[in-house]
């Protein structure tokens, strides 16, 4: 960083007589007056030397307190203990009340007390930034906040979502009258988290900022302060969350994608029944998240050959979907690259040069005040656009692949004899436990 050197005490001798002291004071006042009334807008600085004080005055010290928000070790301890407790509550004690109390604790601690930052959901971006940019240091807390919930998901399912995630917790707390979303709608909307994750990763890789943090609907609630539009978004999410439980988790959360994948592989997972399912059907409607898989009908509606042929067709569809995704990605070059502030600024400046805007805006004024040549800005923006050129194709291919997988997963009939939570989408909230009549 550029440090300014204190200007020399031009012409002022430290041992001046009383008379010269007076004179320089008068001179000083005159110079001040000149600049005050004829001051230019250029940011010239150090016009006046620091005075020599006859009275022996020395300037006071400046107060530079260090960051206060540094309870790093403590946060990690709380995270790991809540994760462990959540696993015990979900897998051993199997009491919704305990899980819910822990949820409330996490909402208060990670949300209101720690101001909801940094959370695991946002940590994906820091990890991506750390991978892309060798100079970006990812602090230990963030590494743990990213990996611990995923490791726990690999072992015990999404216990993090059940009772640790502050975003999940605040939604869980407001979900008082959940209604059932039609499964087809649920499936379609569940593509959005993948899209969001892809966009967020693209944004980080291109240096266009952390959009997950920018559009976090609840962090404003935790901090009791946000921009007007984010208040509206957060408020709407909470009101919607009364009826559609956990709307953010189901239809937006990008970290949920990773948790979903890990939880699918989980070593153990929450079960509805403490012992064996008797197919009584009592739990079927107990999950507000459509996360209970019903037993497959014993009468398979098609023969094995038919099924195999359909699957083959679907697999053939994969390359088509991926190509389609890449195509859509290509079409989106302009809007995607506009995620980057430099691209937006360059377009604004170019537009102003062409007389497309009646007046300048705050960004363009700041840019012009910085004396950077337009060409440099344009070149920078072009380079960023090039980067997006590759990124958007990856994004498109990724989304094509996701849609393909979703299609395959709805069309494959895995043989199931019991009512079971879907390992990917179950949040381990524990609501279904009490519906099962089977005793341990």
């Amino acid at each position: 960083m550029k440090r300014y050197v204190v200007p020399p005490l031009g012409g002022f001798s430290p041992t001046g007589s009383r008379w010269t002291g007076r004179l320089k004071a008068v001179l000083h006042a005159l110079v001040c007056m000149f600049f005050f009334f004829f001051g230019t807008t250029a940011h010239a600085e150090f016009r006046f030397p620091m005075p020599e004080f006859a009275s022996g005055y020395t300037h006071p010290p400046v107060h530079v307190p260090g960051p206060s928000n540094m309870m790093v070790g403590w946060d990690i301890v709380v995270l790991l203990s809540t994760l462990t407790l959540a696993s015990i509550f979900v897998l051993k004690h199997r009491k919704r009340r305990e899980i819910f109390l822990l949820t409330l604790f996490s909402m208060i601690y990670f949300g209101f007390w720690r101001n909801g930052c940094v959370c695991s959901v946002g940590s994906v971006q820091n990890i991506m930034a750390g991978i892309c940019d060798p100079d970006y240091g990812v602090p230990l807390t963030v590494l743990v906040f990213f990996s611990a919930p995923l490791i726990f998901a690999l072992l015990f399912g999404r216990v993090f979502c059940a009772a640790v995630c502050p975003l999940g917790a605040i939604q869980e707390a407001v979900a008082v009258k959940p209604v059932k979303v039609p499964p087809a709608v649920e499936k379609v909307l569940s593509v959005f988290p993948y899209l969001y994750l892809g966009l967020a990763m693209l944004s980080v890789a291109m240096g266009a900022g952390f959009i997950i943090c920018q559009y976090d609907p609840f962090v404003g609630v935790f901090r009791m302060g946000a921009s007007f539009s984010m208040w509206i978004f957060g408020g709407l999410m909470l009101v919607l969350g009364i009826f559609v439980a956990r709307p953010y988790c189901r239809f937006l959360c990008p970290y949920g994608v990773l948790l979903n994948w890990c939880s699918k592989l989980s070593r153990r997972h929450a079960t509805i029944t403490p012992a064996g399912c008797i197919q009584c059907d009592l739990c079927a409607d107990s999950c507000p998240y459509n996360a209970i898989n019903e037993p497959t009908p014993s009468e398979v509606p098609e023969t094995r050959e038919q099924g195999a042929r359909r699957l083959g067709l679907l697999l053939l569809l994969f390359p088509v979907l991926v190509a389609l995704g890449v195509g859509v990605g290509c079409l989106l070059k302009e809007p995607l690259s506009r995620m980057h502030p430099t691209v937006r600024l360059a377009e604004r400046i170019a537009g102003e040069e062409l007389g497309r805007y009646a007046e300048t805006n705050i960004e363009s004024e700041a840019f012009r005040a910085s004396d950077t040549p337009n060409e440099k800005l344009y070149a920078e923006a072009m380079e960023i656009k090039e980067g997006f050129g590759i990124g958007r194709k990856w994004l498109g291919a990724f989304i094509g692949l996701v849609i393909g997988c979703k299609l395959v997963s709805v069309s494959i009939l895995r043989k199931r004899t019991d009512y079971e939570p879907d390992r990917g989408t179950c949040y381990s909230c524990g609501r279904c436990f009490k519906y099962c009549p089977v005793q341990e």
């Binding site: 550029k2 300014y4 204190v6 200007p7 000083h28 001040c32 007056m33 005050f36 001051g39 230019t40 807008t41 940011h43 600085e45 150090f46 016009r47 620091m50 005075p51 004080f53 005055y57 300037h59 006071p60 010290p61 400046v62 107060h63 530079v64 260090g66 960051p67 206060s68 928000n69 930052c117 940094v118 971006q125 820091n126 990890i127 930034a129 750390g130 991978i131 060798p134 970006y136 240091g137 990812v138 602090p139 230990l140 590494l143 990213f146 990996s147 690999l154 900022g209 943090c213 901090r223 302060g225 921009s227 994948w261 890990c262 592989l265 989980s266 502030p341 705050i362 004024e365 910085s370």
Partner: protein
């Protein structure tokens, strides 16, 4: 038998997933850079006023900062007085600061010391602009770390038109214009 191979495969994929997560963490954490916090580069700040309005905290964690060692101690302070001020005194109608956070104290003829009351300052940057246009630029904007909650992405950084926010090491979290300042933490 079938069941065994199936669970063996699951174990294998799970192991692979764990390795992937570990790899991501290692690769992200390879840089041994220090912990970073947000700060304003005073050389870039244009005092646009967004620091007052875009911080997640209200009032903003950004405050005006005074480097005494480069201040001219002017009677006619461009940061203190409105350009159209009738009198050179502490009358509220003469002050540039909307909250009277910049306080003026007589030292000796003709010098005055200016101090910021951080509890009143809202970080609007009006005085900073005045000081850099008419004076030494000894008033400038800084993120105050006793207030800042160190957001993962600073909301002002996103809104700053001058790209003035950057991440600096937490061990040296201010970007002071002068290194002659006596600091207390």
């Amino acid at each position: 038998m079938n069941k065994n191979t199936k669970s063996g495969r699951r174990d294998f994929v799970r192991g692979a997933a764990a390795v992937l997560i570990g790899g991501a963490v290692l690769s992200a954490g390879r840089s041994r850079s220090p912990r970073l916090v947000w700060q304003i580069d005073p050389a870039k700040c244009t005092q646009c006023g967004r620091c007052a309005t875009h911080c997640v905290l209200a009032p903003s964690a950004v405050k005006c900062f005074h480097s005494y060692s480069i201040c001219g101690y002017c009677d006619l302070c461009g940061g203190y007085l409105r350009p159209d001020a009738k009198n050179r005194n502490t009358g509220a109608e003469n002050q540039l600061c909307p909250t009277a956070a910049l306080q003026r104290k007589f030292i000796e003829m003709p010098y005055y010391q200016y101090t910021i009351n951080e509890d009143l300052c809202i970080g609007c940057g009006k005085c900073v602009k005045g000081c850099s246009v008419f004076g030494n630029g000894s008033l400038y904007m800084q993120v105050r770390h006793d207030r800042c909650v160190n957001c993962n992405e600073c909301a002002i950084a996103r809104a700053c038109p001058s790209d003035a926010f950057k991440r600096v090491p937490a061990s040296d979290p201010y970007l002071l214009k002068s290194d002659q300042e006596r600091r207390i933490v």
